[in-house]
Structure formats: C-alpha cells, structure tokens
C-alpha cells in the first residue's frame, strides 16, 4: 500500500492546503510534501523488484484490485514499480518538495490555491509513473494537465493566457490521438480482456493484433505505433512539436517550470519507453531511422534555437528540447547502454533542468529581468546563486562527475554501437555535435549575463538570495554530483528493468 499512501498523502495534502489560509499554505505544503519524500526514499531503500514491470518482472509494492468490469473488459487499480519507474517516483517527490520551497519568495498571491495545485500535480505524477493499467494510467496522465494549465494561467508571466491555452490544447489533442489508437489496439488484440499493461505487452510480443475494421493486424500495429509516437512526441517534446514548450516555460512561474522540465517532459519519454519501445519492438526497428533523425534534429535544432535566445529562461527551455533529443536517441539505439542511459538521463535532466530553472528564477526575483543583454556582473551581488547557476550549466554541458556526463556518455556509447539502428555512427556523431553548441550557448550566456562589471540598471536592490531560495538548489546540486559520482545507485536498477525489453527485439 506504499504507492497508495504516496498518492493519498499528496491528494489529502492538496485539499488541506487549498482550504488553508494563504500565509501558512507554503509552509504547510512543504511539510506535507516531506512525507512523500520520506516514503519514496524508504521505497528506494527497500526496493526488491526485478526485471521489467511489463515483461514478467517482479514488481515491488504492487497492488492489483478489481475495479470495473465493463462487458468482457476489466479495468483494475493496478500499481507497482520496477527499476524504471522507481527513480522517477523519487525524482518526482524530491523535485516537488524543492519546487514548493523555491516558491516561497516569488508566489505572493493566492498561495493556498497555488500550493494545493502543486501537491495535486505531485499525486498525479506519481500515478503516471506507477500505474500499470492503461485506463488508470491515462487518468493520471490527463489529470496532470489541469493543474499545470492553471499554474501557468493564473500565476504566469504577461503572456500567460496564451501560453496556458497553447499548452493545454497541444498536449490534450496529442493525448486524444494516442488514446484512440491505443483503445483500437486493445480491441484488435483478440485475446486481451483487460487494460492491464503487462497483459497487453505480452500479447503484443507474442503475436500482435489480429486486425480491426478491415485493417490487417500488422497495419493496425503500425498505425497505433505511429499515432502513439506522435502523441508522446508532443509531450517530450521533439521538433517539430516543441513550440508549446518555450511559451509555457517562459510564462510559467519558476516552480511550475521546475516541474514542467523536471518531471512532465519525462512523462513523454517514460511513456515512449513503456508503450512504443516495450510493446512494439518490430515497429521500432522498422521506423528506427526516421525516429533517430527526429532525435538528432531535436538535439541540433533545439540547441541552435537556444543559441539564438537572449532570455535566460528561454535558453534553458530550448536546451530541454535538445536534451530530450538525446533521450530519444538513446531509446531508439535499443541497446543496453542506449536505453539504460536514456532512462538515467531522464532522471539526470530532471535534476539539472530543475536546478537551472530555480537559479534563473532566483536571479530574476532579485533583478527583475531575464534578458542576457540587460544584466551584467550579477555574480558580484549574488555570488552563491550565480555559482549554482554556473555549476548547473556545467552539468548541462556534461562535466564529468556530474550526472549529465554519465547520462550522455552512456547514451552515445549505446547509440554508437547499435545494430538495431542503421547509420548509428552517423547519427551519434551528429548528436555529439550538439554538445559543442550547448557548451557554446551556455558559456556565451553566462559570460555576458553574470560575469564582467556590474552594469544592471534597476530600481531593485540586488542582494543575496534568502536561504530558503538557495537551499533547494544545493540539494539538487548535491544529487547531481551524487549521481555523477555513483551512477550505479540507480543505473543497475534501471538496466535490470531495461534488459528484458531488448530481448524481444534489440541486441542486448
């Protein structure tokens, strides 16, 4: 009942916070959010699952209850974690707590509603990473949209309405495409009588769908694969479905950006791994080259776009497009190190991008500008925050002993030697070029924004940030270094869950 407890604590906490008075809401939400952190860390410490949740693995903290019987189809409350989902659950609980603490300064109106929504998001995110019944999973998946829509729309920047609606429409339409396709697949799988993902995955691997509405089974599988890929690609996001992301990020308040980049984008890659790559190994091989091309384009194009920005937050936002491109490349390589590295990179990027958004947020709170061209020499006034920003940037560039290095290195290593992907060396080499651009725009931006003589013209008193703004960043930095030094903390767990997927199609 651990997972239920996690979700319930967050939900009840959301309700309590929503009705609490504004002045205590922030502290209350933070206190409540520490319970899921403790629970998830305890789950991490006592984790005894093995293998992949969808392919004959042993789940940890599993619970499976009959819920709805719909004609011959059954829907159940089915949750559990394996080595892929557990690190993401821990990432979610930690990032949510830190995001709440980092909101204490910038959020100064309607606090109780704000923190209530953050805790509501946390509950749904945990649900997304633990649900193993399609129906249940989809509920959590979609329910994340509503609070994020409100977080951006109510507490966001000047163009928040536009950004919120764009975010909502884009991701919701994508979900519907994916949803319709998946339901058609379940109907097409003659023997399957439940929405439990392991059952569907087994049926897919053992023979695939029989066909539906006059479509051949293989055609149906291909259509579903493509529709689902598109649905998840918007969430990731990959080029050309990325345009909602910079808008959403720049307008969102700092904590929402942290969650958006840190966890919400991982929903897309997590779902790709769980659905497309686990259930459709044949189609993965068929469409490997176009998908790898999309991944590489996302890496390069995202980095180029970041290079062209003058807004610090936009730079970090576009760099997410680039980083998630690496994850897709790792997945499509379909090797032990490729998929494992991609999953590791999901966690790592969650930490690093969260850190970057927090650092930019703290600097913005003090200077009230995010434009690289306006600020110069902020480092003099805010040495700690700037130091952390620089450290985060190095993490992004893949400095050894930080988690980004291990993630990117394993992805490139896995992708270079891939046999499933044709021209894998070319794709890998092109993607590696992205690192150069990343280093370029980050150093360029840092050099102009934070170093040099102090020239910022502002009416605000630019001073050191308060402790509760800096503390969450130190925690994140600590985790980034911890995972960089000791990646095996989670990498073994991940590959243990990843390898069964590869046995069905890739070359492990």
């Amino acid at each position: 009942m651990m997972i239920e407890a996690l979700i319930a604590v967050a939900l009840v906490g959301a309700l309590l916070t929503f009705i609490a008075p504004n002045r205590v809401a922030g502290k209350l939400a933070f206190a409540i959010s520490l319970i899921p952190v403790a629970l998830s860390l305890w789950m991490f410490a006592t984790f005894d699952g093995s293998g992949n949740a969808l392919i004959d693995g042993t789940l940890a903290f599993e619970s499976h209850l009959e819920w709805i019987q719909l004609g011959e189809y059954s829907i159940s409350w089915f949750v559990g974690v394996d080595g892929i989902s557990l690190p993401l659950v821990v990432l979610t609980t930690i990032l949510c707590s830190l995001a709440i603490m980092s909101s204490w300064t910038p959020i100064d109106e309607r606090e109780s509603q704000f923190y209530g929504l953050v805790l509501f998001i946390e509950a749904n995110l945990i649900g997304v990473f633990t649900a193993l019944d399609f129906f249940l999973w989809f509920i959590f998946w979609e329910a994340v949209l509503i609070p994020m829509y409100l977080l951006i729309g109510v507490w966001g920047g000047p163009r928040r309405k536009y950004a919120a609606i764009k975010f909502f429409v884009y991701t919701n339409v994508a979900s519907l495409v994916m949803f319709g396709a998946f339901i058609a697949l379940v109907f097409g799988l003659g023997d399957v009588t439940s929405f439990a993902l392991p059952e569907i995955a087994t049926a897919m691997v053992e023979g695939g769908p029989d066909g539906l509405f006059g479509l051949e089974g293989s055609t149906l599988a291909a259509v579903v694969f493509i529709a689902m890929f598109l649905g998840f690609a918007v969430k990731v996001p990959v080029v050309p479905f990325h345009t909602w992301l910079p808008d959403a990020h720049v307008q969102a308040p700092t904590p929402a950006s942290v969650l958006l980049a840190g966890v919400l984008l991982k929903m897309g890659t997590y779902a790709l791994l769980r659905f497309n790559f686990t259930m459709f190994p044949e189609q993965v091989e068929t469409y490997a080259v176009p998908i790898a091309a999309i991944a590489v384009i996302s890496v390069i194009y995202g980095a180029m776009l970041a290079l062209a920005q003058t807004d610090l937050k936009r730079i970090v936002a576009y760099s997410s497009v680039s980083s998630m491109g690496y994850v897709i490349l790792g997945l499509i390589a379909f090797t032990h190190f490729g998929v494992g590295g991609a999953t590791f990179q999901m966690v790592s990027h969650g930490l690093i991008s969260g850190l970057m958004f927090m650092a930019v947020g703290v600097i913005y709170n003090a200077t009230h500008t995010r434009l690289v061209t306006d600020m110069s020499g902020v480092a003099d006034r805010m040495p700690i925050a700037v130091g952390i920003l620089v450290a985060g940037a190095f993490g992004y560039m893949g400095l050894p002993l930080m988690s980004g290095f291990f993630g990117e290195f394993t992805i490139f290593f896995g992708a270079f030697g891939s046999e499933a992907l044709a021209y894998s060396q070319v794709f890998t080499a092109l993607a590696m070029f992205g690192i150069v651009i990343v280093a370029g725009y980050l150093l360029f931006a840092l050099q102009r924004a934070v170093f040099g003589p102090y020239e910022l013209e502002t009416d605000y008193d630019v001073t050191r940030a308060p402790l509760h703004d800096v503390a969450p960043m130190f925690v994140l930095l600590g985790l980034i270094i911890l995972l960089g030094v000791a990646p095996d903390l989670i990498f073994e767990m991940i590959t243990d869950a990843v390898d069964p997927i590869l046995e069905n199609g890739g070359d492990s």
Binding site: F18, G71, I139, L150, R160, K161, V169, F187
Partner: protein, 511 residues
C-alpha cells in the same frame, strides 16, 4: 426470517413518494396561501425527493426487478401500463438526485420570491411525471407521464412573472411543447393503427409475427414521429430550438432541472420504447424497410456536432450551457445508435452512465449560474472574470463541472464518454457506420474543451474588470454545488457499482 413482502404497487414507491410530496405541498399552499415559512416548504420538497432517492436506491440494491438472478423479484408489473425494472429504478435515482439538488439550491435562489409553495410543488410534480415516465411501458401511460412532466415545466420556466425573458421563454417552450405533443400523439396513433396495440411488448409481438408488414409505411412514419416527439423532450436536433431560449429565460435552478432530469426522463422512454416495442432484426426491417439505428446514428452525429459548434460561439454562459446540453443529448443518443441485433449492452449502459454523471455535472454547472445570478454578476463570460479570487470553492467546483463535461480525467464525465467510445467501437465491429460516431464523439469532445475551458479561464485566469464587494455564500446553493462537485469526483472510485447497475439495466432491457 421471512423477507418483507411489499404489495406490488409499492414497487412504484419512488414515484409515488414524489406524487405524495407534491400533494402535501398543495395542502400547505391551500391552508396558508401566502405562507412565508420557506424552510418548511423547501424542507418538505427536499425530504420528499431524498426519500424517493433512498427508496429507489434501496430497491436497486435489493434487486427489485432483476429478471433472472436468484432471489430477485423479477420484473414487476405493478399497475397496468407500468413496469418496474432495473432501468426504471436507475432513472428514478437520477431524477431524484437532480430534484434534491435543485430543491436545496432553490432555497436561496427564491429568497425574495412571491410564489414559494407553487414553485416547489411544480418542481415535485414535474419530477413525479419524470419518475413515472421511467416506469411507463405503454404508449398511453408514456404520453400521460410525459405531459405530467411537461405542463409544470412550462409554468416553471415562466415563473418569474415580472421578467420578460422568463415569460417569453415559457411561452416559446409551451408552444413548441404543444406542437411536439401533437406530433407524438400522432405517432402513437399511427403505431396503434399499424399494430393494434399500445403496450410496448404487445407491439413487439405483432411486429415479430410479421403481422405489421402490411402497414409498414404507416408504422415507419409512426416511428419517425415518435422520434420527433422524443427529440423535443431530450432537446435533440431537429427539435432543439426551444432549449437555449427556455434555459436562458428560466430561473437557473429550473434550467438545471430541465436540462438534467427532464432530459434523462426523455431518454429512458426513448430507450424503453425502441428496445421493447421495435426490436431490431429481420422482421423489423421487413416491416418498415430500414433499421431505425440509422436514424439514431445520423441524429447522434448531427446533434452532438451542432450542439458543440453552437455552444462554441456563445457569449452568454447560460446559452453556452444550453447548447452544450444539446451536444450531450447527442452523446446519449449513441446508446441507441450503437444497438445491434444481438448486442449493445455496453453502449446502452454507457449512455445511461453518461446521463447519471450528467445529472451531477450539468446540474452543478447550472446551479453555479444560479449562484452567479444570486450574486448579480451578469451573464457573459466577461462578467464571470476573476470570480475565483472571491469564491475559490464554488469556482473550483465549477472547474470540476466544466472539465468533467469536456470529458477530462479524473472526473466522471471522462468515464462515461470513455465507455461510450468503447461501446461505439464494439458496435463498429458489426456496423461500420459506428466508426463515424466514435470519431464524432472524440472530435466533439476535443472541440468542447475549447468553450468549457474558456469558462474556467474566465473564472480563474482573467482579471476581474470591476472590483467586487464580498460575495455572499448562500448555504443551500453552496451545499448543492459542492455536493454535485464531490459526486462528480468520487463517482470515480465508485464507478464499479454504477457500471454494474447500468449494464444490468441495459441487459435487462435488451433481453
């Protein structure tokens, strides 16, 4: 212990309780015509509807009317022309829930109103008609129950006598209602002429034995006219024009009542008449030359599309809700469109579930409008701007209703739409036209998100144009809205029993 054996007519208790409550209210009104004891009147009405709800729920759980299950009492035929089965009870529950919510909410809405007892007795009387409609199984009793539900509704729409909009809406509603009654009666007479019977099962027997084949054209026309009559009652295309006018002009609690309870009542007869009297199959096709599911496939697609497109262009919140309720009639019509010769329990059960969830979410939405009218904030989207800063709980509830109506998880509306979608796909295996229905359902749901989220945006995201004083928090309205919102959400874990009940009702109906 010997189980308590009630007399057979007691099976109609949920409806009879409402009838009795209406009579008690009349007595109050005659003893003290201008009574200002609002609490007593409202409490009586609420008590009556809650009693009806409790009894209907008890009967459902006890298995009254379950046909074959061991220990079930079987389909009960309490009085000639009525039948109590799981379907009837399911819809009696919906009617009672909506009535209770509306009555509680009306307490604050009617605070300065001159006709307290009239209002409540009309509501309860209309509810009695709807409740009886759920159990009627002869075309005569159906017609009478339909009129019993309709006549008080005309008066209710026009009850704000000093308000031109209300009176005009009442008049329009009445005229179109009278016309549709005429069409409906004409349809009944043609069916009677072709088959010689008014009872639904007897009509079916005549058709199954092929005896109606000589009057096939007559029967077919009769069926089309019946569809027309029902289309009026359920506010479906092409007889939907009255709905926006009536809902806009009526007091908001009455709009809630009409668009939820009255619609559900219209659908229950529609379901019963078409599954019991006109069984699908070869005989039916021989008799009238086509499958009536085609009519419903077309009606469903047209109704949901037209309702949603019209709703998307509204600036007035009440009209938007009115058109969206037309769209939802289209979703419920899928229940009939998806029937096949030997199946369709899933899709019909899904339509019933949708009507149940709709009872909460749509009533709640209209009650929020009632709250806004109570506050005097105006009628357009702009007038609703920034209300959440003043009333976060009510606005949170409204956001729940809107997202649920749009079919977004984790709210009840998602479940029923999802099951409708699954049912359509299942039906599509034998009738490929249902693929178009399934596609229309998804596309319309996506479209509807546009205007539902527009209201959420107004409430939560836009800044208010004018500064507002503190908004009052009328207890009854608030309570009704919060209860509706909580039910829209907690129906999620409780969906297992609801699905079972609905599927059981659908199965009972189809066999």
């Amino acid at each position: 212990m010997e189980p308590l054996q009630l007399p057979e007519w007691a099976a109609l208790a949920p409806a009879l309780l409402l009838v009795g409550t209406a009579l008690v209210l009349f007595v109050f009104d005659s003893i003290s015509p201008h009574s200002t004891n609002r609490s007593l009147i409202a409490a009586t009405a609420a008590g009556g509807s809650l009693a009806s709800l409790a009894v209907a729920a008890w009967f459902t759980v006890a298995g009254v009317g379950t046909p074959t299950a061991a220990g079930g009492l079987g389909e009960i035929d309490p009085i000639h022309g009525f039948v109590v089965d799981q379907l009837a009870l399911f819809f009696m529950i919906i009617v009672a829930i909506v009535t209770a919510l509306v009555v509680v909410a009306s307490y604050d809405y009617l605070v300065d109103h001159a006709y307290q007892a009239e209002y409540y007795s009309l509501i309860i009387l209309a509810a009695s008609g709807m409740s009886l409609l759920a159990a009627a199984d002869s075309l005569v009793t159906i017609f009478i129950a339909l009129e019993l539900a309709s006549l008080p509704s005309y008066a209710l729409v026009a009850i704000l006598k000093d308000n031109r909009g209300s009176v005009e809406a009442g008049l329009k509603y009445f005229l179109i209602g009278a016309l549709s009654s005429a069409i409906f009666v004409y349809g009944i007479s043609l069916v009677y002429g072709a088959t010689g019977y008014l009872e639904l099962s007897a009509i079916a027997n005549v058709i199954l034995e092929g005896e109606a084949a000589d009057y096939g054209g007559l029967l077919g026309l009769g069926i089309l006219l019946l569809i027309g009559g029902f289309a009026f009652k359920t506010a479906s295309v092409p007889f939907h024009f009255w709905a926006p006018e009536a809902y806009e002009g009526a007091p908001a609690p009455v709009s809630a009542f009409l668009s939820s309870a009255s619609k559900a009542a219209g659908f229950v007869v529609l379901f019963r008449v078409f599954t019991e009297a006109f069984p699908l199959g070869e005989e039916m096709r021989v008799a009238i030359g086509f499958d009536w599911t085609i009519a419903f496939i077309i009606l469903a697609i047209v109704t949901m599309t037209l309702g949603n497109f019209a709703a998307a262009t509204q600036n007035n919140v009440k009209r938007m809700l009115a058109y969206s309720s037309i769209g939802h009639a289209g979703y419920a019509l899928i229940g009939l469109a998806g029937l096949t010769v030997d199946g369709g329990e899933l899709v019909m059960g899904a339509a019933m579930m949708h009507l149940l969830v709709y009872g909460f979410m749509n009533t709640g939405a209209f009650l929020f409008v009632a709250l806004a009218e109570h506050w005097g904030v105006g009628r357009t989207f702009e007038d609703y701007n920034g209300l959440s800063a003043r009333a976060p709980v009510a606005c949170g509830a409204m956001a729940v209703f809107m997202f649920s109506l749009a079919g977004i998880p984790p709210f009840g509306g998602f479940f029923s739409k999802f099951f409708l979608f699954m049912g359509s796909l299942e039906a599509a295996a034998t009738n490929t036209a249902m693929l178009a229905v399934a596609a229309a359902l998804v596309v319309n749901s996506a479209l509807s998100l546009f205007y539902y989220s527009r209201l959420v945006k107004a409430l939560w995201i836009e800044e208010p144009a004018t500064t507002r004083d503190r908004l009052a928090k009328p207890t009854g309205l608030y309570a009704a809205i919060v209860v509706a919102a909580v039910m829209t959400v907690v129906i999620l874990p409780g969906f297992g029993p609801v699905v079972d009940a609905a599927l059981e009702a659908a199965t009972a109906l189809l066999n």
